[in-house]
């Protein structure tokens, strides 16, 4: 047995031994563990699973042990992921610290910053939010106006962010601020600060789908120590763009990673329109659903191919934009199809007259409209593909 097969066998044995049975079932979104100073565990099993995975360094398996990881190689991490998928193990910890901040902190942070911030992320002790968009800086993100005045040993931050997911629940924020008004992209810096700092306030935003994780976030003379500046002063745009690639990669998977809790189009259609043998009786919908699930499959294969190409060192530069664009548009199409199949059953807003899962379909359908806006609109993604992959002129 080669080393990797040995690792696979050990990993599998450990997971079987340590992953509680309830943690090997599809996870409803509300049972996600986000960690933070006031962590919420919906069940004792999710707390146990979280603690075991943290102790093993497998919330962030490829990070060095000094930062709270287990120092696994890419191949080993892939094996771990495969074995977790095979056994149906839940992801023990979610968070923007792991998925967005850490990749750029590992690359651009100082050793002091890494030691200060990475281990608490790995252990799920600090929950992060993202301070990017502003009322007048959406697609034109570099137009952001939140200013940070340089006071030597600290900055004073004043301004407003919007669409800050879970700002009301987060402990820290990674934030884009303007440190120079003379240059658009060249006057942006990347900073980290504690959300309990005096002058920080948040206000949740209700969406067309109802209550949401999004907040408006206000900064009134917030003092940020200079050591919390990541990278050089006025050099934050490079970091910002790189972080966006990680965010887009995450959003593009929205329709897929929720696993068993997202209804598959063909199953919903069978429930409402299937005959005794399960054949969908509306020919036009059946054709549209077939096209949809085939595109899903081709998309998944493309994600897999990109991963293989990355491992082989031959990935395309605009891949994350393609996945963000296609994945989110596909998720929107999925909910439109589900809505057509379920008819009036999926048009309920609230109340006992509707099944909970049908009410959820309606809310998810509305929420899906945001997928192609957040993290860079579909139109921006197509611009990026045209420029970076196809080399079309400005």
């Amino acid at each position: 047995m080669d080393a990797l097969s040995e690792f696979r066998a050990e990993t599998r044995a450990w997971l079987i031994e340590n992953c509680p049975a309830p943690m090997r079932t599809p996870m409803p979104e509300e049972e996600r563990v986000w960690g933070g100073r006031n962590p919420v565990f919906k069940t004792p099993a999710s707390k146990l699973w979280f603690e075991r995975m943290v102790a093993r360094g497998w919330t962030v398996p490829t990070w060095p042990k000094a930062y709270g990881g287990d120092g696994l190689s890419k191949d080993q991490a892939l094996v771990l992921g495969e074995e977790m998928a095979n056994l149906g193990c839940r992801n023990p910890l979610f968070g923007f610290g792991i998925s967005m901040l850490a990749p750029v902190l590992l690359k651009y942070g100082t050793e002091v910053q890494k030691i200060e911030h990475l281990p608490p992320i790995a252990r799920g002790e600090i929950r992060w939010c993202q301070g990017y968009s502003e009322p007048n800086a959406g697609s034109d993100l570099a137009n952001l106006q939140t200013k940070a005045e340089d006071q030597g040993d600290h900055f004073v931050v004043t301004g407003q962010k919007i669409w800050t997911s879970y700002a009301n629940l987060a402990d820290w924020i990674f934030c884009l601020v303007r440190t120079d008004t003379r240059s658009k992209q060249g006057g942006i810096s990347f900073m980290l600060f504690d959300m309990t700092s005096p002058g920080v306030s948040t206000r949740p935003i209700a969406l067309i789908s109802g209550a949401s994780a999004f907040c408006e976030t206000f900064f009134d003379q917030v003092q940020v120590p200079r050591r919390n500046l990541v990278g050089e002063l006025n050099a934050g745009w490079t970091i910002a763009k790189e972080l966006l690639q990680h965010e887009r990669g995450m959003i593009s998977q929205i329709g897929r990673t929720l696993g068993g809790t997202v209804p598959s189009v063909d199953k919903v259609a069978q429930r409402y329109l299937g005959d005794a043998a399960g054949r969908i009786t509306e020919p036009a919908l059946r054709d549209a659903i077939a096209q949809h699930v085939m595109n899903d499959r081709a998309f998944e294969l493309t994600v897999r191919r990109a991963n293989e190409e990355n491992s082989a060192g031959a990935g395309a530069g605009g891949a994350s934009s393609m996945f963000k664009y296609y994945g989110t548009e596909q998720n929107k199409r999925k909910y439109e199809l589900i809505l057509k199949c379920a008819g009036s059953q999926a048009l309920g807003w609230e109340g006992d007259e509707f099944l909970p899962e049908d009410l959820q379909i309606c809310r998810s359908w509305l929420r899906s409209k945001g997928n192609s806006i957040e993290g860079g609109t579909s139109e921006i993604q197509l611009n990026v593909i045209a420029k970076r992959v196809l080399g079309l002129p400005d």
Binding site: I280, D287, A290, Q291, A298, R305, Y325
Partner: protein, 379 residues
């Protein structure tokens, strides 16, 4: 299963690209078309392809082939799609060789497979009878006689039917339900009395034939595969053809797309390259996404052919459906984005459009594949 090519496959792809660019550029297809060439392809080109060993790529060494597999053939077909090269690769290599390998008896294999590998004989599959692909709707009959069979019926859209030395004919030997049962295969020399071949000139500048069988007397040795039960052997071969054709269509789409993007950078209006207009950028980016999805589907399907994956039928329909959807979009947009020049016969982009629609129809278009996929998945 890997979705990226290994070293040998990559090398083969490069060889094929150089070969087709040098030996079978689009102007060669134009010449074949303008001359109304009797063969519909260049014998000299086929001889060179034979020298490279490609006719035997799916044939095991024991029967004179090289047994390199479908992923390799897929790369050759993709590259042939970039120059729209006309050759017997589809009819003889992709269809006939695997069908004889799957259904033939030892005598038939010994007789025909080495002759295919050496490029000596050409085959055609006489299957479809309707304008749209419907492989089980067969009314051509083969009635048993004391000496063998008598064949009656007509076939259309027979690729290479006008040049084939032998035909693989699918005929009904028993009336039964469902339509897939009661079908048999026959291996018939094209010059057998009672066979009339009418060449058809298709829009893509390549050729097929309508073939009439009128009381064609066959010896019992002509039977290919088990009587009344060819279909289970035929279907995986048709899936191979769907996937191989999807690879050719991918090459067609990639080339038409790359030419179009190059034109967007070159052509200026209002004093700027038209590729700087956001309306056109977005259309190009959408095509790019469709090409990426098609590439993945084709690669996975080719691998499934080599590994005889359980999922082969669904992957074949996936690859062909994506290739059809992608190519309808890309070739239509290619003409539009070339503007007036794209409508002229002098510009080559129209050749991609014409070949695309023929390839889309062969072995089932996108809606055929979607219907089949839905059935395979049980909805």
């Amino acid at each position: 299963m890997s979705l990226i090519l290994n070293e040998e496959q990559t090398l083969l792809k490069h060889t094929a690209r150089e070969f087709f660019r040098a030996k079978a550029p689009i102007k060669a297809l134009r010449t074949l078309r303008d001359e109304k060439n009797v063969q519909g392809f260049e014998r000299a080109l086929w001889a060179e392809i034979t020298t490279l060993g490609w006719p035997g790529i799916l044939i095991p060494e024991a029967y004179g082939g090289v047994g390199f597999g479908y992923q390799g053939l897929g790369q050759i077909l993709e590259e042939s799609g970039r120059t729209l090269a006309a050759s017997p690769l589809i009819a003889t290599v992709l269809l006939a060789a695997p069908l004889i390998l799957a259904a033939g008896n030892e005598t038939q294999k010994q007789r025909f497979l080495p002759a295919i590998a050496s490029g000596e004989i050409l085959f055609a599959l006489a299957l479809d009878e309707r304008p749209r692909h419907a492989p089980s709707h067969i009314t051509t009959t083969a009635v048993t006689t004391t000496a063998g069979y008598v064949l009656n019926g007509r076939k259309g859209f027979v690729l290479d039917g006008h040049v084939a030395d032998y035909l693989l004919v699918v005929a009904r030997t028993a009336d039964s339900s469902p339509a897939e049962t009661g079908l048999s295969g026959f291996l018939v020399a094209t010059n057998t009395p009672g066979i009339t071949v009418e060449r058809t000139f298709l829009v893509d500048g390549r050729n097929a034939a309508n073939i009439v069988f009128e009381n064609v007397a066959l010896m019992s040795e002509a039977l290919l595969g088990p009587q009344d039960a060819l279909y289970p052997l035929l279907e995986p071969v048709l899936d191979g053809a769907r996937i191989g054709l999807a690879a050719e269509m991918l090459g067609n789409g990639l080339e038409a797309f790359e030419r179009t993007v190059a034109y967007l950078k070159l052509r200026t209006q209002f004093g700027v390259p038209i590729g700087s207009f956001q309306a056109l950028k977005h259309r190009a980016a959408l095509m790019y996404c469709e090409l990426e999805l098609t590439t993945s589907a084709v690669r996975e399907a080719l691998t499934a052919l080599d590994e005889q994956g359980a999922d082969l039928a669904a992957l074949a329909s996936l690859a062909k459906a994506k290739a059809c959807e992608m190519l309808e979009l890309v070739t239509s947009e290619a003409v539009q984005l070339h503007g007036g020049i794209g409508m002229t016969d002098a510009e080559e982009i129209g050749f991609f459009l014409k070949r695309a629609r023929v390839a889309q129809q062969l072995f089932g278009d996108a809606s055929f594949q979607r219907e089949r996929y839905a059935t395979l998945l049980g909805f």
